[in-house]
Amino acid sequence: MTKSFGSRCEQIAAIVRKDFLIGLRRRATFAAMMMFALTAVASLSLSTGGSFVEPKILSAMLWVVIFFAASAGISGTFDDEAQACTLPTLKLYAAAQAILFGKMAGVLLSLIALTTFILPIFLILFDVAVENFFLLTTTLLAGLVGLSAAGTLTAALTTSATVKGGLFPILLFPVTLPIFLPAIALTEAAFTGAAFEASALVVIAAFDAILILASSILYDYL
């Protein structure tokens, strides 16, 4: 048991490292995700033209930007490998669960990178003074974990689709709604410094755990 767990972890680490190397060399996916986020934030900021935007709307906009940029960036998690015919090789040499969690970890890291890139730009362009930075970071991190879990399984589902245009966000959105709704409320509280419901954070964390567990169970049936 411990030996297989250790080798599982080694496989996960190898896959994350491999995807990171390929991501560095083939920057297109990553660049597209960042530029998508930048374009979305710029267009929102330009259209509001520096006028005051309510914190509630701001926090919703931030999550919408993250959701669609993430969709652009992670929908090809499995599909890129399927197109390159490397997915069957990977599936032969690595355990299914190691592939799932390796990909999930990679997706989480790229989403953290995305958020680290876009958040300061967002805060500066909309002139947001964050009152509770700790809450903001915790909420973003908790949200991204769930988004990675659901996103990775959804990316595995869409790989076999013959028509892919737009399919990924359509599938992902309803599944991640239980994360977005409390996350938007918490982000608003972080912007304004208002009192917040800690139970919302618990809801996100619980749903994260359920998504990770469900992805792990369901992936074996694919």
Partner: protein, 195 residues
Amino acid sequence: MIAFDDVTLSFGRRVLFDNVTLNLRGGRVIGITGANGAGKSTFLKLAGKILQPDSGSVTLPAYKTIAAVSPEMKIYDDLTATENLKFFSRLRGKALTAEKLFELGSRVGLDMKTFGDARAGTFSTGMRQRLKFAVLLSVDADIWLLDEPTANLDDDGREKIFSEVQAAKSGKIILLATNDKAEVEICDEVIRLPL
């Protein structure tokens, strides 16, 4: 021994395998031949449990590892030859030393000094095929699934791979799907799939 028990598989209305029961024994090279579309590659996938049958079962010996060379399984174009080898062997819990890398390269006729740090995407088809075979050798698996392993290879490459297969066959189960005469010749036993 790989045991097929009442295996049935169909694609749409086409029944490819209909209640197939057979045993594939180790220690020899078993050739799988048949016309295009007879299901040679599919047979290998069933044998390796890469594909599940519609009904019936395929049983592999416990704790046996599988490796394959197949046109449907490519290596990473964006990784170098060395990185590809290290990645796949690490997935199987094997750390490759520099000496081992050079040895693997020479066994398949790929000079790792010159090509080790080049991306696989820059390789010719034949060189990529040699690298795929090196990956197979590096993981030291118990079951080899070879789908047209020497297609695109020159005579030197063929000879090297044939001798590796011959040297490795005792103690392994080797399945070789092919219609190539030279590849069929190295098989100890041939299963011809009907269309």
